[in-house]
């Protein structure tokens, strides 16, 4: 079976630091793969490379068998890789609904002239974008609907901002969603809710999910497979139990026994 996302020999240096060092990673369709690792292991850099936000030094990233390296981020989204950001990056001065509507940019095509002349096709598409945005927001129960549609994103609570960011990614009709620490800063109840949500994203929406996570309960709860990174290299891969008991992973998190003792 061909992997949905296939990364081989990926490398990236920032000055003298090897942020990603010859990384191989594959994600199959319908999988939920967690990426773990201590701070600075290169997890977010990996996401930035996959989504084209920063240029890659070497290696290959294939999505559905097509090389996507070097494509602009908007083209990569168009192929079906959407993401969220570790430090929630919404469009703060746009409304909740508009935030989600923007994500459908690459799936729609109304031009400037159509907007000026308000053609029937334009109106139809606009209505469709709006309806879809509202449907997507409805995925989170009643948290982002009703009067919240017209609220500015910056007026939302922290947890709702995280939810909105996920909604925005969903609205782009992705095949794969990359979630960068979706539970950071959330309380235990919200974390629990989000853990269930990640499962729902795969089961109901059919997304393949790659998630960076620090909370081991979440990792245990959602992952089909866990990949551990350290210094930009893959140090372990397997089920949660395998990885959690891997010598090298424990060492990466807690330090060497000699050093610790």
């Amino acid at each position: 079976m061909v992997a949905l996302l296939d990364i081989t020999g990926l490398g990236k240096s920032f000055g003298g630091v090897r942020a990603i060092d010859g990384l191989d990673l594959h994600v199959d369709k319908g999988e939920i793969v967690s990426v773990i690792g201590p701070n600075g292991a290169g997890k977010t850099t990996l996401f930035n490379l996959i989504t084209g936000l920063i240029p890659t030094d070497e290696g290959k990233v294939e999505f559905e068998g097509v090389d996507i390296l070097g494509l602009p981020p908007s083209a990569i989204l168009e192929r079906g890789i959407a993401r969220t950001f570790q430090n929630v990056r919404l469009f703060p001065e746009m409304t909740v609904r508009e935030n989600v509507m923007v994500a459908q940019h690459c799936r729609t095509k109304a031009g400037v002239l159509a907007a000026i002349f308000r053609t029937p096709a334009f109106r139809r598409e606009e209505e469709q974008i709006r309806r879809k945005a509202e449907d997507t927001l409805g995925f989170f129960g009643n948290r982002l609907v009703g009067y919240r549609f017209d609220q500015l994103a910056m007026a939302l609570s922290y947890a709702n901002r995280r939810r909105l960011e996920i909604a925005r990614a969903m609205a782009s009709d992705p095949k794969t969603v990359l979630l960068d620490e979706p539970t950071a800063g959330m309380n235990p109840r919200e974390t629990q809710e989000l853990t269930e949500l990640i499962g729902k994203l795969r089961d109901e929406r059919g997304y393949t999910i790659l998630v960076i996570e620090h909370d081991m309960r979440v990792v245990k709860g959602v992952s089909d497979r866990v990949v551990a990174l350290d210094y930009g290299r893959k140090i372990a891969e397997g089920t949660y139990d395998e990885v959690a008991h891997d010598e090298r992973v424990i060492e990466a998190y807690l330090g060497r026994k000699e050093a610790a003792g």
Partner: protein, 592 residues
């Protein structure tokens, strides 16, 4: 426990019960410095030469006396309190604070007068003259004059402070009434002209004395009348809006359509009511409005700070000039305006792409600097000897024919008003239609966070180029009309000041807000045209206005609904709390 925390906060947020003397003194000194400053730069004096305004008071006097009043209001106004916390109750301390500020203002002016009388500084400060001294001492001897000033300043400061006691609902109509009365006095020549034009000579005689000042009794009557009207109308706009909002879809659309028709009808007869001079002023404002609408897309929506916007204005003006005028030597097809217009638009689109393409990868300050350069490049190109055969160099291009539809020529300010109105309506509609569309959302997303917009599928290259192209197009409309209106173009009309003026219009009016831009253009372009005395101090006032706006109302005079929400939503307070909670949660989480 929670209660204790709350009372602690209140203690901290509420000013102490007694007068905040330090603040009053600070405000008063600032007032004094302001008065000295406007005297020393010559504003008081040159305004004084404009003659009397109300009763025996000249414009200069009013300006001087406004200072203690305004600073009295400021001193009496308590510092802003977060929403949700109790406002401190008003009382004698507001009045006293105002009085202290007034006193300090008066003292500073008095010291200034005494110093000026003792030392001759005219070699350096040319505007500090005996005439100024005469105004500052109200025509009396030095000691008496200083005393009068001091007493007047204290009284006005007290009055300013006392205005705080009135509460928002009374204060607002009062200030408006005062402002309108003063404006009636200042714009005497114009108002008289309009009244005469409307054959209301008797009203004019009742209002103004033969020497041109507003008669005191009528001034008071008008002031009271306006105050009453303001009180009566206080809640009307909101009530009307609510009633319209409550209507059914069909009726609501009908009412909106009716209001639009009424508006167009008013605009239609406006030039004939206002007369040629005022219409000309509106025309100038209209041309700036066109540019401001365009720049509003580039800066307000797309967030691309373009300081060389005048380049597109110049391209529009010069293309029109070359294509329609017989005077251009190298190339003069002498097309009619309407045939030339599509070519002007094409030229603007080309210019937009020309400026937009090289700056695609630039953001923020760098973009501002580069565009500033492009603006100058455009002006220098039009001025250059190399292109002189086409653009006429410093001599410019003359004999640009009027716009004509069939036999009707849009000559004279009244008819030309319609041409500008038509283009302004078109531009306004374009901006309105675009901001709520796919490309509008792409622009806003780009303004908010360019990388994320890109990651969310927005083709930022296309979005940027479109912003530049549409912006350039609207500016070229302004340029084309400007060229026809003046009948000639010269490179000197297209300096960087134009770019700045347009930018200031949208900042003061309200970013990304169409009504804001209209008000901005009227206040910043039309008003200075009306008040000839202002011209000299135009940029000084722009600067002062910008500073005041940034401090007091950063969202602009009429903010877009969005910005208004952002800056005055109680949830901002709630949000700060939530963020603190989140930070705490993550701190404990990482601590585990």
């Amino acid at each position: 426990m929670a209660e204790a925390v709350q009372t602690d906060l209140r203690e901290e947020l509420l000013p102490a019960r007694e007068v905040d003397l330090r603040r009053s003194v600070r405000v008063g000194l600032l007032g004094g410095l302001t008065a000295v400053f406007i005297s020393a730069v010559g504003m008081v004096q040159s305004f004084d030469e404009a003659g009397l305004v109300v009763g025996p008071l000249s414009f200069g006097d009013l300006l001087l006396l406004a200072v203690p009043f305004v600073f009295g209001v400021l001193a009496g106004h308590p510092p802003p309190v977060l929403k949700g916390f109790a406002e401190p109750t008003s009382g004698a301390r507001n009045v006293i604070a105002g009085g202290v500020a007034g006193l300090l203002t008066g003292v500073v002016i008095g010291v200034f007068v005494a110093l000026v009388d003792t030392f001759d500084v005219r070699d350096i400060f040319t505007r500090i003259s005996p005439e100024l001294l005469d105004i500052l001492t109200y025509g009396q001897t030095l000691a008496v004059g200083i005393l009068i000033g001091l007493v007047a300043d204290v009284i006005l400061g007290l009055a300013g402070g006392a205005s705080q006691l009135l509460g928002e609902r009374w204060r607002r109509p009062l200030f408006w009434a005062l402002l309108v009365v003063v404006m009636l006095g200042v714009l005497e020549a114009l108002v008289s002209q309009i009244l005469r034009g409307a054959r209301l000579g008797r009203v004019q005689d009742a209002l103004y004395a033969p020497t041109g000042e507003l008669r005191l009794p009528s001034a008071i009557a008008i002031g009271l009348g306006l105050f009453g009207l303001g009180l009566w109308l206080r809640d009307q706009p909101r009530a009307v809006r609510q009633r319209i909002g409550a209507m059914e879809g069909e009726r609501r659309r009908l009412v909106t359509a009716g209001a639009l028709v009424a508006l167009v009808a008013v605009l239609g007869i406006l030039p004939w009511v206002l007369g040629p001079f005022l219409t000309e002023v509106l025309n100038i404002a209209g041309i700036f409005l066109l540019m401001a609408l365009g720049l509003n897309i580039v800066v307000g929506l797309a967030g691309l700070l373009d300081l060389g916007y005048v380049a597109f204005f110049a391209v529009g003006a010069y293309t029109t000039a070359v294509l329609t005028s017989p005077a251009s030597q190298a190339f003069s097809p002498e097309l009619s305006f309407w045939v030339a217009l599509p070519l002007v638009i094409l030229a603007a689109v080309a210019a937009g792409l020309l400026v937009g393409t090289p700056v695609l990868r630039m953001r923020g300050d760098y973009l501002a600097i580069v565009t500033l350069g492009f603006g100058e490049i455009a002006r220098i190109l039009f001025l250059s000897d190399a292109l002189k055969p086409t653009f006429g160099g410093a001599q410019g291009i003359l004999k640009i024919p009027d716009i004509a539809i069939g036999p009707i020529e849009f000559r004279g300010p009244e008819l030309f008003f319609y041409a500008i109105l038509a283009f302004a309506l078109l531009a306004g509609y374009m901006v309105y239609a675009l901001q709520d569309s796919r490309i509008g959302r792409a622009w806003m997303a780009m303004r908010e966070d360019e990388s994320v917009a890109e990651a969310m599928g927005v083709n930022t290259v296309a979005a940027k180029l479109w912003a530049f192209v549409i912006g350039a197009m609207l500016a070229s409309f302004g340029g084309a009309l400007f060229a026809v209106k003046v009948g000639s173009v010269f490179p000197s009309s297209f300096n960087v000041i134009v770019s700045f003026t347009v930018l200031i219009i949208i900042i003061i009016g309200g970013m990304a807000s169409i009504p804001g831009v209209i008000v901005g253009a009227l206040i910043l372009v039309a008003l200075p045209e009306l008040l000839r005395e202002f011209q000299e101090f135009r940029f000084l006032l722009y600067g002062a206005l910008l500073i005041v706006m940034m401090l007091r109302r950063p969202e602009g005079l009429i903010p877009s609904r969005r910005r208004a929400r952002e800056l005055h939503e109680e949830e901002v307070v709630q949000d700060a709390w939530l963020r603190a909670q989140a930070a705490e949660a993550s701190a404990t989480a990482s601590g585990e």
